[in-house]
Each structure stands twice: as structure tokens, then as C-alpha cells.
Symmetry: C4
Subunit: 236 residues, 4 copies
Amino acid sequence: MRLGRRVAAEAIGTGLLLACIVGSGIMGERLAGGSIALALLANTIATGAVLVALIFAFAPMSGAHFNPAVTLAAAAHGDLPWREVPGYIASQLAGAIVGVGLAHVMFELPLFSLSHRARSGVAQMASEGVATFGLLMVIGGCARSRAPVAVAVGAYITAAYWFTASTSFANPAVTVARSLSDTFAGIRPTDAPGFIVAQLLGAATAVAVWHWLTMTPRTDMHVSPTAVKRHGEPGR
Amino acid sequence: MRLGRRVAAEAIGTGLLLACIVGSGIMGERLAGGSIALALLANTIATGAVLVALIFAFAPMSGAHFNPAVTLAAAAHGDLPWREVPGYIASQLAGAIVGVGLAHVMFELPLFSLSHRARSGVAQMASEGVATFGLLMVIGGCARSRAPVAVAVGAYITAAYWFTASTSFANPAVTVARSLSDTFAGIRPTDAPGFIVAQLLGAATAVAVWHWLTMTPRTDMHVSPTAVKRHGEPGR
Amino acid sequence: MRLGRRVAAEAIGTGLLLACIVGSGIMGERLAGGSIALALLANTIATGAVLVALIFAFAPMSGAHFNPAVTLAAAAHGDLPWREVPGYIASQLAGAIVGVGLAHVMFELPLFSLSHRARSGVAQMASEGVATFGLLMVIGGCARSRAPVAVAVGAYITAAYWFTASTSFANPAVTVARSLSDTFAGIRPTDAPGFIVAQLLGAATAVAVWHWLTMTPRTDMHVSPTAVKRHGEPGR
Amino acid sequence: MRLGRRVAAEAIGTGLLLACIVGSGIMGERLAGGSIALALLANTIATGAVLVALIFAFAPMSGAHFNPAVTLAAAAHGDLPWREVPGYIASQLAGAIVGVGLAHVMFELPLFSLSHRARSGVAQMASEGVATFGLLMVIGGCARSRAPVAVAVGAYITAAYWFTASTSFANPAVTVARSLSDTFAGIRPTDAPGFIVAQLLGAATAVAVWHWLTMTPRTDMHVSPTAVKRHGEPGR
């Protein structure tokens, strides 16, 4: 029952996220008069901003993952029971697909259409690996302090749209759903599996790095309180 | 008396909000040299930013609704007495209209002018429904935690300007006031009622969804403290 | 002595603010290839962002006014002793002028040059009045809660650059200093006094409104605790 | 051991930072169709946003310096032991260089290439001095309160990209690494030493100013509690 509500929150949040990604891509391309930089800037600002809003709103309900890679990492870190993972991922996928349809309705396009936008090759996959690794590093860092994960994730994706050659999908559910939109934000269905593999490799690397960075260090048990305090409030 | 001050705060805040929406639309269009994307980008950044500022400033006074749909939802959730609703809505409408006039004065235009900008059709109304549903979901989520609603709402509207075909009015008072401005941000008076109906339907849906998501679940009364704790700090 | 340091902080902060306003105006105009909207967008984003950074950094030292209108309002509200006002304003003016010179050095221009940019007329003055009124309303609201005034002021000025016809100077020290820069952000010295009068009128109006909004209401002393609580956490 | 993890965090964070600076510069230039303002705007938004995300994520681990000038200032202020400085700086340099290579891989460019972009002269060096001085003032101010240094630094660099003629490197590790990229964000290796000298001078000035602004004032030991309280919560 509780789980039912949480996965409903995941579905609603992921749906609004995809409506934003796809919808703002369509709007940006229509208004930009051929300037891809302007279209992507609009797409970027909208996506980063909606992540801030949705994560603030849904984090207290479901954790606001909206992303199977985040859900799997949470389970690997012990923050979510493995038995809840399938429900989370299924609801993210369902919500994402409905969100794409919603965007198409709002912009008077067919409900779904397979994308013809090619996004393949080693550089694209390296981009997705780096993008997802960075996303999971940011979430992992914020989870270990009181940092506002909503602001950090929104800011990270804003940046990653521009610093990766793939415009940073970094999310398997988003990748599947965007293959159903033959618009600015789309991806050819045949290119989706490569993206997803790269994303999962990036996420697994981040989980391993966080595990190493934060594991209880036995050799530190004898250090002085001063050293511990210095570690707790380091540097700045 | 107290109510008098709160509705005054609503009127001032809504007035500044409308001065910003209409004024930045005029400025954007004048300077953008024909690029609608640039004009809308300026309009978007200004509107999102002013919402952050005004909600931070006025939330402790009046709740900073600036929006009859938000006021009605607050009453439906039991956060505002129904008897105060008419005062809130009247002051929002009055403030919004004065704000539009203020923008026109600042840009040397006639005090009011009926808009000729057509915004009709199923897609536009679907956009307003989705936009208002999402806005109320974001506000509802933030109200149930310590999330900064000012940042979340500013970010949401920044995104919604781009991911809806209607540029997301999502506010009946804003809709009425913008019908009095024959500028970039205007809406034909004959199209306003359709927008308002769609907004109220979106808001009502959000209220119903929040009611279901957060109602006390009787079947959960016997779950272990661990499960409750997990629900309180979920996933991430 | 303490005051000496606080006014030093005001001078440094106002200097960096002006270096940013004037410098980003020059940079924006040089790179924008004739698009005034793009130049103003760069100028806007830089100015709003630097205000966030500088107010976060200097608020614990001096209050981070950077603005004689803010200093006068603080004194009127009883938050700053009147005897400290002259020191604050003098340091703001000195810092602002040095900051303009610094921007000119960084962009290889003469140290100072009188602006030829006309900014006059009723609409411009109305714009400055509205801009400063809104700024003081935002600061006043944040001062009465725990809202982050740095974010609110940065966001407000970001918006006000676009929703006022004057691009929102809203600051007498900034107005004087910008008259010494014949660049994008400049203002003709003969137009500066009108701007300053309008700013002070807007500020005085905001002080009066806040005084009315927050004065202890004798008639409310007998209301029930419930009503008081509702006022404390209103609406949303 | 603990130090090993903290310098690893510095390396990862600085690597992602450089991947973003260089990658978003390439992407911006490719998509902007010749508009340098648009390319720099994309570069700016990405860099500012990634700083917000990375500092939120890594500050609890290592302090999130990502910058030898910040590390040296932290040591000068007594916030980091001098013996840890070499490890910090070496990891920042190594991470920065790897990050540049990563960006090149993502955009299908040679792993490293010496930049041909001239950035020399008094104005450029003055810009770097001012940029680094301002950065250290902002960090110093936030360190003395609870201000979110992640937001303040991200916002400051967003502004400084536009208000300095050099687009504000303000970081010796970034300067070295960017000399290895013959792209939008590059700097000719022969110009790097001048930048670094100017940055260190700016940082040293900021350290001296903060030392003076915050040293315990002996003459104040007899002031009344009221005056102390007023200093603690000044002005606004």
C-alpha cells in the first residue's frame, strides 16, 4: 500500500519530467529559427529547472529517483530494499512513456512516433557513461550531507546537457521514452540499448567509487578526535 | 484586520508578478530583433526569478499564493479557511490588473488594451491543465516538507513556459489580467474562460491526487517503526 | 573600528558589484554581434549571480547593503543606527566608483568617461520607482523570516532588468557610478538625479508599506491562539 | 589513508569540473553558429551549474577546493594543515588534466592538443587578479557563516565569466589543464604562467584583506553587549 503510493509518486514525477524534456525540446526548436544553440539552451534551462521543482516536491514521498540507475544505486547502497526495485523501475518506465505522450498531445503531434535521430558511436557512449557516473557521484555526495539534492541534480543536468556529446540522457527510463518521440529530444530505438549499457556501467563505477570513498576505515579507529573533527569539516 | 493585511500582501505581490510577466514580455520582444526564442527566454528568466523573490518575501505574510487556483487548493486541503477565499481571490485579481497597468506605464503604452493574441484549441487547454496540475503537485509536495517552495515554484514556472504549448499561465488571475494587454504576454479575452476552466480542472485533479497520496492509511497502523522510518526518509 | 571594517566590507562588495555590472555590459555588447537582447541577457545573468555571491559573502559582515536606499531603509526600520548611515553611504559610493574604474582597466578603456546614454522621461522614472519599491519589499519580507535574502535579491534584480524600461538601477550609488562609464551600462550624468529621486521615492513608499503591514495591531491582542498560529504559518 | 580519500575526491571533482569547462566550450562553439555570445553563455551556465553540483557533493569529503589557490588560502587561514597542501594540489592538477582528456574523448578530438589561443597583456592579468580576489572573498565570507558556498561559488563564477576580460580562470590547475586543449576554452601554454602569477597575487590580497577584516579587535573588548549583538546581525 505504502509502496503503491511511492511508485505512484515516481510515475507522476517521471511523467512530468519527460513531458518537460520532450515538450521544451519541441518548443525550443519551433521558436529558435534554426539556432540549435538557442533550442538546446531552452531545453537545458527547462529540464534543469523542472528537476529542481520535482525533486523538492517528491523526495519526501518516494525519494524522487525518476531514474532506474538511481534506484539501482540506492538499492546497492542499502537505502532501498531490493524487493521494491522492480516496482520503482516499472513505474518510472510507465510514467516516462505517458509523459512523452502528454508532450505530444500538448504540441498537437501523434501520440507516439519512433525517433529517427541517430545517437551512436564510442564518443556518444563514453558521454553517457561519464554523464551517469557524474550524476551518481553528485547524488551520493548530497545523500551523505544535508546538501539540497534537488538543486544539485538540477544544476548537474543543466551542465551535463552541454559538456557531454550526447546531451546527457543519463537515465534508462528517459532513454526508452525518448525513443518514442521523433522530435528534438528523440533517440533512434536501435541506439537506445547502447546508451542504457553505458549508463549502467557509469552508475556501477560511481557506486564502487562511493563504496571505497566512504567505507569505515579500520586503520582510522585510533586517530585523535582532532583529526576526526578535521575530516568532518574539511578544508574550507 | 489581520486578513486585511494579508490580502494587501497578496495584492502587492500579484501586482509585481504581473508587472514582471507583461513588462519583461514587452522588453524581450523589443530587444530580440524578431527572435521569438530569445524574447521568450528573457520572459521566462524574469518570471521564474521574480517568483523566487516574491514568494520568499511574501510567504510569511500571506502564504504568497498570487493565484486563485493555489488559494482554492489551500482551502480544499484545510490550510486556509474557506471564508477567507473570496478576499484572497479579489485581491489577487485587483493586484494583477494594477500590475498590468503598471507595466504599460513603464513602457509608455496605453494603460490597458484588449489583447488580440489567439490562444485556443484542445492542445492549448490540455497545456493549461497539465501546467496547473504540475504546479499544484509541486506546491503540495513542498508544503509537506521543508523544501523552499519559492525556489520550487520559480523553477517549475521557468520550465513550464517551455514545456507547454500555452507557455503555462496556470493562474486564473494572471489569465484575466493578461487579457488586458495587447503585447507579447497577452491572451484574447474570448480565450480566457477556456484557459481558466482548464486550470481549475488541473488544480482539482492535483488536489485529488494529493488527497489520495497522503491520506492516513489504516492498514499501515500496524507496520513496524522501521518501515515508518524508511517511509520518512525514502530512497535517496 | 568595528564600523571601519563594516564600511570596508560595504566598499569592497559594492566595488565588485559595479565591476560586474559595467564589465559584463562591455563583454556582452562586444560579443553579442549587435543583438541587444543577448547583450542584456549576459548583463542580467552576471549581475543577478554576482549579487547572490556577494550578499552571501558579506551579509554577516556589514549586512551587504551595497545600496544607499537599502541603508536608509534599514535605518528607518531601526535595524541600523542613523549615525552609521553616512559612513555606509560614503563607502558605497567610493566602492562603486572604484569598481567602475576596475572594469574599465580590465577591458582596456580609459579609467573613467562620462556616459552619453540618455535615460530620461516619466516612464524611465516610473520604472526606477517601481524597481526600488519592489527591491525594498523583497528585502523587507526576507528580513522578517529566514528566507535567503541573497537568493531573493539576486533573483529580483535578474527579473527587474527586464520588467522595467530603465533596466532597474534601483540604487543611487550604482546610478552615480554608472554615469562615469560611457559603455553599455552607462547613464548620462544629467539623467542621474532624476533616477535617484525616483529611487528614493520608491524606497520611502516601501518603508511606509512595510510599516503598515507589520505594525503591532492592538485590535488583535484578544484573538485566539489558533488565529495567531494561522497567521504565523499562513495559506500554503 | 583518510588523506588518500580526500585527495581522490579532489581529483574526481576537479576532473568533472574540467570536463565540463572544456566540453561545454566545444559544444557551445559547435552549436552557436558563429555567435560567440551564445557559445560563452552556454559555457557559463554549464560551468556555474556544475560548480554548484560538485561543491554540494564533495564539500563534506574534501572541502571541494578543486583549486590550488583555494587550498593555499585555506592553509593560510589555518583551515587545512600545510603538510596536506602538496597532496591536494597534485591531485587537483592530475584530475584537471584527466578531465580535459575526457572532454576530448567525448567530442572525438585528440586526447590532448596545445592551445593556440592568446590570452596575454596587462588587462588579462588584471582580470585574473580581480577574478581570483573576488572568488576568495566570496569563499572567505561564506566560510564565516552558514551560507551555501556551493551556490555562492557557482554564482560568482557565472558572473566572472562575463565581467572579466579573461573569462575568469581564477584557478592555477584549471589554467594548466586548459593549455592542453586547442578549443574554445584553451589558453596558449606561454600565457599560462602570467595567469597563474596574477591569480596567486589576487588570492594573497584576499587572504590579507580577510585577515584584517576578521582579526580579534582588542579595542572592542570593552564595548557593550548591545554593540556586539548589533555586529553579529548587522544592517539588514
